[in-house]
């Protein structure tokens, strides 16, 4: 197989996004600590919402909304950090 290794790596990341609806819905370590110690209400509402709770707005099916949000974030981060690293590379080559 001659596929470039990073295409395989990115595919694995996208696959994780696709299976992300199976993630545990339990609060994470910090959220749990905040709930148990009654300071979870101190969390302020975000000033704006884009894709809150990893659920793409306007999609009724919860799993689908999560998958779309996950794929969006995965591709966004690949593109953003690939671009950033390219800029850093050209900086010393220029």
């Amino acid at each position: 197989m001659k596929s470039k290794w990073w295409i395989i790596g990115l595919s694995i990341a996208l696959l994780l996004a696709v299976i992300s609806p199976i993630a545990s819905k339990f609060p994470d370590g910090l959220d749990r600590f905040a709930e148990d110690n009654n300071f979870v209400d101190k969390a302020s509402e975000p000033a704006f919402m884009v894709v809150p709770d990893y659920s793409f707005p306007g999609i009724d099916n919860e799993a689908t909304a999560t998958i779309v949000a996950g794929l969006l974030g995965t591709l966004l981060l690949f593109g953003f950090v690939f671009g950033l690293a390219s800029m850093l590379k050209s900086k010393h080559e220029a």
Binding site: S20, F26, P46, V81
Partner: protein, 212 residues
Amino acid sequence: MHIPDGFLSAPVAVATGVVAVAAIAVAVKQTNKKMGEKQVPMMGVLAAFIFAAQMLNFPVAGGTSGHFIGAALAAILLGPWATVLILSSVLVVQSLVFQDGGLLALGANITNMGLIAGFSSYYIYKGLDALSKHNKAGTLVGAGIGAWFGVVLASLACAAELSISGTSPWAIAVPAMGGVHILIGVGEGLITVAVLSLIMATRADLLKLQVA
């Protein structure tokens, strides 16, 4: 371990913000010298993988979950300064687009999950790898233990920030955060070792891309 806005006092948010901005500035300087043809896609793939893997919370004891952070994996593959850039990018996108982690708490989240988790896991891994004379099993054990420490130390930093902010007393925050992350860190270690094993078995040359 993403701190939302409202948990940190202004001084803690500003202080950690200054630390994060300084770390990113140093990271840019440190990484640009060795950034090459193969490092660019590795940076992108790691950011993508870490974002996606962070969505996959796994259950730990008592109705609590944890998730992969990825700082150890990034640090082992590309070095701790590159890790600061990767984790900062992930945390900025999570905060701006997904409202996971507060905007004002970004400095603290970058300090904990990028800087502290990245550097601590990297140097513990380096030390154990050298002690094992770089044999494969020793490298993997070092990676797993380094990853575990990275998560636990990041959680203790988070507990310290919450306690200095007056959100939760020190005597409660440290054992509570440390205790649950002792378990979550095991997940981090296992995932880190699994990914490194896969890379060792398929493309061992990709283990030699450290930039800084």
